[in-house]
Symmetry: C2
Amino acid sequence: MKKMMGILSVATILFLTGCTDKKDNDVSNTKIEQKEVFTWKLATTWGKTVVPLVSAPIEMAKLVEKMSNGRLLIRVDASNKHKAPLGILDMVKGGQYEMGHSGSYYWKGKDINTLPFTTMPFGMTTPEQYAWFYRGGGLELMLKVYDKHNVLSFPGGNTGVQMGGWFKKEIKTVSDLQGLKMRIPGFAGEIMAKLGVAVTNMAPGELYTSLERGTLDALEWVGPGMDIKMGFHKVAPYYYTGWHEPASEMQFLVNKKKFNKLPKDLQEILLVGMRVSAYDMYIQNYDMSATAWAKIKTDYPNIKVKTFPKEVMDVMKKTNKELRTEVAKKSDLLKEILDSQDAYQKKAREWTKMSDFLYLKDNL
Amino acid sequence: MKKMMGILSVATILFLTGCTDKKDNDVSNTKIEQKEVFTWKLATTWGKTVVPLVSAPIEMAKLVEKMSNGRLLIRVDASNKHKAPLGILDMVKGGQYEMGHSGSYYWKGKDINTLPFTTMPFGMTTPEQYAWFYRGGGLELMLKVYDKHNVLSFPGGNTGVQMGGWFKKEIKTVSDLQGLKMRIPGFAGEIMAKLGVAVTNMAPGELYTSLERGTLDALEWVGPGMDIKMGFHKVAPYYYTGWHEPASEMQFLVNKKKFNKLPKDLQEILLVGMRVSAYDMYIQNYDMSATAWAKIKTDYPNIKVKTFPKEVMDVMKKTNKELRTEVAKKSDLLKEILDSQDAYQKKAREWTKMSDFLYLKDNL
């Protein structure tokens, strides 16, 4: 029945219904369609106030609802609802949720190949990375990695260059990092640990107090747009520029079976909805960071923006290279992905230098 | 009839048609809708091989067709078809075309307020400008300007920083610009003219030969991705970095009456289709420029990338400021737009410096 009703011409419907008093002269200009309504759920890693990260799935759901005229409804559950912020991949894989919104590098413990799709230390910038995803084979590699988990993974919004973090004391030499208690997770945390940092992790809600009381000497979060609400600038005067997450890309996950059951037009609406929301989040975060930094600078004029000294940066880069080589040994596919990123970055950075960098150099 | 048939429940249709043998148990889960099919035309300024500029409307039309399941069909006419590359605004305004794809600054002769929506010399970079459009009031100002022309205008794809152009001789001082025959249109051309350049314009097809034969000493086009096909690198060894078009944004135009006649879901599909195609074009161009530059560099190792000397740049900046102040006197609305851009750029550039610039500085 569903198929038969799929698309009937107006003429057929008129014949069937006996409604032959149609006055408009646009018979060939209309179609009648029976459309199934899909009601989906999306689980996100973020709490509902974690803007702009949580904005990407929320905006995506709104756009999809409007574009599909209510035929694809996606309820977004923040982490306080599903209580499993780091269980998103499993829940989408298992089908409890049709979709997820999270970060690919959170799954490196389950599958090391998922590591490079968020960002890598000293890696690509946001436009470079989007170009790699959409024009340089990156998306194909990501879909390949997630295929064995029976989910699709797509870019889900970018934070741009994340700041290197808030420090209570200035870092002048590598020895200043010895024993420094710092919250810095992931691959960057491993690098810092090799440099002698006492890397610790703790719940976001404890960070401010820990930094204030000295349980932490330093921490990295995101950038001014998200950091301002945490208040770190009130207790740590050195704000270091970024090196470890130059283009953190969030991630949309979609259960593959559920995706395949959608009609083609809804698949397209969903794909475009995810892609545009990802770009939009990048722009939203740009604006939030610009605005927040202007406020921090005005309210706390003593905050000093610092770049790690060359000596420190060189050791970080060397350690990063070693760790990258080490981790690439774990899987051929991972090596393929990292090599693809390296090659693309090398090519794209030349253009970034000629265009954005040299333009900015004369216009700061 | 159209309204009556607008949305009928499955039960109603089944009753009307006598089809009561439906086996699926999903009555409440489906809707039957009569949908009008809209067949539109879009006129673009570009020839059909002018990739990626022409890709933005072509990709937009494809996405819209798929998302709307064929209910909104947009035929894209390249300039060889309609023969009026610089008549796009008039044709959309007059309704011969429902849509257009062009550049806002082409209409400054008709309405000076349209000038600043493409890019301005020494202005915002691409992410800064998108943040201004979508988060800083820029889109509202653009819609306001075009409202009196009864059209809607939206961002239509960005080229990133455009290169300063190909020069046959190195520019060492301002006096090297005296009498230099250069193709450089628009506001930037006015600046160059004030610096003594003999600014000329000619058809794109004549540029290569003119440069080769010395009828031109220099010219600006776009960037490596588009320049490579023109072959300028074969006859002019100095490639100057950009200052005059740091983020050229193309433009989608939509006839307002036609837009208002679309049902809400198609309006949303069109808006999202335009927004995502614009971002996509930026990324496509990034990739094209990175790839083309790698090729030019390999094939023509003698090409020298140059930045104009500080002395020259300072005079350009000073002249730019004077021209900006002058043009702002022409209309209060133009002054409002330029002031809005200046204020946003000042705020955003601080963040760009801390994030992209300082990251790139250590990673070139």
